[in-house]
């Protein structure tokens, strides 16, 4: 198990957004997380990645207790997340954004003045890696454009690219294909599939069909709880799931 979430609770002003959620995710799998709006999917992602501290429960990542660690520490341990509304840096180009995401960057003050040679070497390596990833995602030709000048779909690709650039053991994707045309959406998931042997994915997505095609395990949330989980086939046949989606 790379990620173990045990009995997490989180309330906002008396409303329980997470009401005892437990999830266990195995290495090198793609897990999907579905559920109606307001069922707690993004809250779960925020809690796991350190952006929110849970009221109760624990989160273990790679056997290490990461409950309530600040986001940057969670990220350093090898878990990177993307955001639902793509949050790209306005003043930065595609390539710059990719470089920022790298964990090997020499981003201290000391090397700026005293170890320029090593800094340039790392930079060269990072640029090469960034270009490879951009190439893999087929947006290499845009590398000197401002990130915000990209089309919606390209922006989604870039945020996936930035997550990959961090070379994490686990990636949390928050709606990676929302608002993206079906062809491109499939392409994005195909890229994720290709990365599966290197890392583990947890994907929140409204597009259930696409999750059914690509995921190993699907978790279904409703009203702050996991109401069902299993392989896509099992979940599709599950009565509760049909209730959640059809009964509201």
């Amino acid at each position: 198990m790379i990620l173990e979430v045990n009995d997490i609770e989180k309330s906002f002003g008396g409303i329980k957004a997470l009401d005892g959620v437990s999830v266990s995710i195995e290495n090198n799998t793609i897990s999907g997380l579905i559920g109606p709006n307001g069922s707690g999917k993004t809250t779960l992602l925020n809690t796991v990645s350190g952006f929110l501290a849970p009221d109760k429960g624990t989160v273990y990542f790679g056997g290490k207790d990461i409950t309530s660690l600040p986001p940057f520490q969670v990220s350093r341990l090898g878990m990177t997340r993307t955001f639902q509304i793509t949050r790209l840096f306005r003043g930065m180009t595609v390539l710059e954004s990719m470089l920022l995401a790298s964990k090997t960057q020499d981003d201290g003050l000391f090397p700026v003045f005293f170890n320029r040679k090593k800094l340039m070497e790392t930079e060269r390596r990072d640029v090469q890696k960034a270009v490879e990833i951009l190439d893999f995602l087929e947006i290499e030709h845009m590398k000197h454009e401002y990130a915000v000048a990209l089309s919606g779909g390209q922006q989604k690709l870039l945020s996936l690219g930035m997550a990959l650039m961090a070379d994490p053991r686990m990636v949390l994707l928050d709606e990676p294909v929302a608002g993206v045309n079906p062809t491109l959406a499939n392409k994005i998931f195909e890229k994720v599939m290709l990365e599966k042997e290197k890392r583990t994915f947890l994907v929140v997505e409204h597009n259930i069909d696409i999750l059914m095609n690509f995921c190993d395990i699907i978790y279904v949330m409703n009203k702050g709880r996991i109401v069902a989980s299993g392989t896509p086939d099992e979940v599709q046949r599950n009565e509760t799931v049909i209730d959640v989606y059809l009964g509201g």
Partner: protein
Amino acid sequence: MLLDYVLDMLVYIGIFAILAISLNLEFGYTRLMNFGKVAFFATGAYTSALLSMTGASFIEGMAAGMLISALLGLLVALPTLRLRADYLAIVTIAFGEILRLFFLNEVWFTNGPMGIRGIPQPLYSVFDNDYMLFYVLLVYTTLIICYLFAERIVNSPFGRVLKAIRDDEEAVQAFGKNTCMFKIKIFIIGSSMASVSGSLFAHYLAFISPDMFYPTVTFSVWTMMVIGGSANNLGVIAGAVLVQVFERGTRFLKDFVVLPIEPSNLRVILIGLLLILFLLYRPDGIIKEEKNRGLL
């Protein structure tokens, strides 16, 4: 006579350009709202002045000022930088005022409202008649060093993180960066740089008093940055030139023409208007931020 005016203006432009670059590092690149720039300017001026009165050299005074400003910067940064942006604005503005009160009230230490007179000027005996010219050179050498230093920082991986923090701090944290540390570091650098400019100021005038360090100094530096173009170090230097030519120019003019408005009032009113008009109609300033094509 006219040459003296020009040289004097050049010195002021240089001193304020350094301040503008220091603010640009904090706000232009990192979005830290330092409304107390004058505090660190004053710290440099007073430290340098007081030390040199006891026989320390210009360089020693400047170095001590930088160190004290860095410590004060850290002190201000620690409780506020992890909080919302507007808290920093309020705290720094307050800090500047409290520091001015300190210089005003601690007469035993700073000579209070009478100020410090006869601050020794570096290498005065050597240059004597050409001293103004020498000082212009001194100021501009310092400015060039500060400019290159700032450019080096912003065009590095460190600077890249600053710009990303400016655009979306949370998203930067998601990539494993301790954003608070970056903000504290650049705030300390900005404070030290402002202190350098304060030292140059004190030794140039050979006299300082608390009423030179009103918050209007801070806001005039803000105007330089906004109209010059924040996140562009050449732009903010251009802004410093414009505002200073205008500020010194009205002082110069008042000796020759009668203005319908008290010149000191007119200056501040126009600085305020420039600030507002640029925010409204040209928020990128005269020179826009450049697209970064990377280090290689």
